[in-house]
Amino acid sequence: MTIDNSTESIHTVEGGGKKRGAAAWISSVFENKYIGLVALAIALLMPFLIATPYAINIMTTAAIFVVLAAGLNIVVGYCGLLDLGYIAFLAVGAYTAGIIAKAFELPVLFTLPAVVIMCILAGLIIGAPTLRLRSDYLAIVTLGFGEITRITANNLTITGGPSGIYNIPGFLSIGGIDFQNPIIFYYLTVLIVAGLVLAAARLGKSRLGRAWKFVKEDEDAAEAMGIHTYKVKLLAYIFGAVWGGFGGMLFASHLTAISPMSFVFLQSALVLMAVVLGGMGNMKGVVLGALAISLLPELLRDFAAYRYLLFGLLLVVVMVFRPQGLWPPRGAEAERTKAQREAAAFANGLKK
């Protein structure tokens, strides 16, 4: 965008801005590479501060929501594919876990292989015919798939119809240890979520992650560089689906009951909000966004009737002031050091 923001007629929003003093300090804190560990430590210490069932429940829900946002971030934030039906993957994961665990009286964790396979299949089924579409058409098609998934769950017997599946067995039990204790389940969830977030973040900084971003920015240019855009997009979908499936598995064993009502379009919109609010493409930001979106309505509970009114207004205000999200990707990397420059010059000299 080359239109200047001093022209009132069209506002351009520039990332960054002036950073001095305190602001610079804050941004250096935020860019610190140990911030992820600090966040994990805080998550692990939380139950020592507030251990009410309510707090544990909310934190577990938030952690599960983080996985969803991390998964959607792969699809939307990295690869730029607008997905309005992401909740379908949560549904596939949750139903697969729920149905199998209940049918075979298995701890939910043991359904993991099935969940992953089903989600990969779902990713392929949804992605394969649709990924050739332009982004807004893709949006409606994914929305459609999301709805089809929910309607199917609502109308099949195996999924329990509109009542869904309840009394899903515990997440894990070995030798009589009660892993279904909410606090233990919270810890398991946090560890799994942390692992998945780290993995997604690392994917983003790899060759595949760069390929996703190339595709997001300019598909033609990416193709010209030999990047098979279709395959790369499909991979993003599949990774997103698998993350969603993990979320679904945790979701099923957390609630012990799942029903189609949990997979309505609004939920897809909420996950998307988390990603955009946090800062598309930056995994740390997305985690922050997910925490904000899942905790905010809880914090607003006391406003009862005005809860969603305030939620809506807050969303607008936050986005107006931080259009790039709360914590956008940095978009810069380290420059070459002088020594490296000289070494390169020397090497080039030899090559010539």
Binding site: S9, I10, N155, M273, G312, V316, M319, V320, Q324
Partner: protein, 304 residues
């Protein structure tokens, strides 16, 4: 099967009628998308607000209404259109305009935020209880090829059709319409033509929202019930219709609305009510994979 065949005219007419509501709302969706590439999720809620404004006015004028009949309803509809138009413009100014040039998805999020705010704002002001509309369009029917076509249906279709034709002419023939299309192609280029970009965008929101407001009043009067969430599902449907028609294309939106109405109508006949939406979306997906830009969408041959 014989039953189905004899039902066809009725199925067709029912689909067409619902479709014309979808079309009217889809128009606003498509116009806004066309000009600033925003999927305006708050659009369906403007429809809801329109219905509530109509309700408020009609309740206020109370009994006098019946004497004036349809004419009064049209006046009320116009007043609602005016107010919803202004609300659309205000939403744009507050929630969308500050994000001009920001990533498109950021605006999508403010749109969802605005949608929440409108829904629960109305719930807070008017209570979440559904309301019965003070005026009901009742009337006789005629049988056309075995399909019951009621007079109110015909009247509403005529109003919807007139609004759509007026809009289409406006976009195609006037310089504002041309400017709208120009902005959608190149905002900076339009500035250099002397186009007051923000004013034109405001006008687009005004028109789109006014149409949605009209649809809201019409729906209230025809169906008799309004509530604060009534815009949500129809908003999604209108979005779907706009995409089927080729999003950003005005005539496409109208056509898309009608097509969606028909697909739904025939769908529930073919696969049963519980699978209807799944059927409609499946048709949509199949259609888009075959024709990726919708019915009338321009094939953007992006030059490399």
């Amino acid at each position: 099967m014989a039953q189905f065949i004899s039902d066809i005219p009725q199925v067709f007419w029912d689909g067409l009628f619902v479709g014309s509501f979808y079309a009217l709302i889809a128009l606003g969706y498509s116009m806004v998308y066309g000009i600033i590439k925003l999927l305006n999720f708050a659009h369906g809620d403007i429809y809801m607000v329109g219905a509530f404004i109509g309700y408020t006015i009609l309740t206020a004028i109370g009994g006098t209404f019946h004497m004036l009949g349809l004419f009064a309803l049209i006046i009320v509809m116009m007043i609602s259109m005016l107010i919803t138009g202004v609300i659309g413009v205000v939403v744009e100014k507050l929630a969308y305009q500050p994000l001009r040039g920001a990533p498109r998805l950021a605006v999508l999020i403010t749109a969802v935020g605005a949608s929440f705010a409108l829904e629960y704002g109305v719930a807070a002001i008017a209570s979440p209880n559904p309301r019965g509309f003070p005026v009901r369009l009742d009337g006789d029917f005629v049988l056309v090829l075995g399909a019951r076509v009621t007079i109110p249906q015909i009247i509403l279709m005529l109003i919807a059709g007139a609004l759509m034709i007026a809009l289409d002419t406006y976009i195609r023939r006037t310089s504002t319409g041309r400017a709208m299309r120009a902005i959608s192609l190149d905002m900076k280029g339009s500035l250099l033509m002397g186009v007051k970009v923000n004013a034109v965008i405001s006008r687009t929101f005004f028109i789109g929202s006014a149409l949605a407001g009209a649809a809201g009043v019409m729906a209230g009067a025809y169906y008799g019930k309004i509530d604060f969430l009534m815009g949500f599902i129809i908003g999604l449907k209108a979005f779907t219709a706009a995409v089927i028609g080729g999003i950003g294309n005005i005539r496409g939106a109208m056509l898309g609305g009608l097509v969606l109405g028909l697909v739904e109508s025939f769908g529930s006949e073919l696969v049963g009510g519980q699978w209807r939406d799944a059927f409609a979306f499946a048709v949509l997906i199949l259609f888009l994979t075959l024709r990726p830009t919708g019915i009338l969408g321009e094939r953007v041959t992006e030059r490399v």
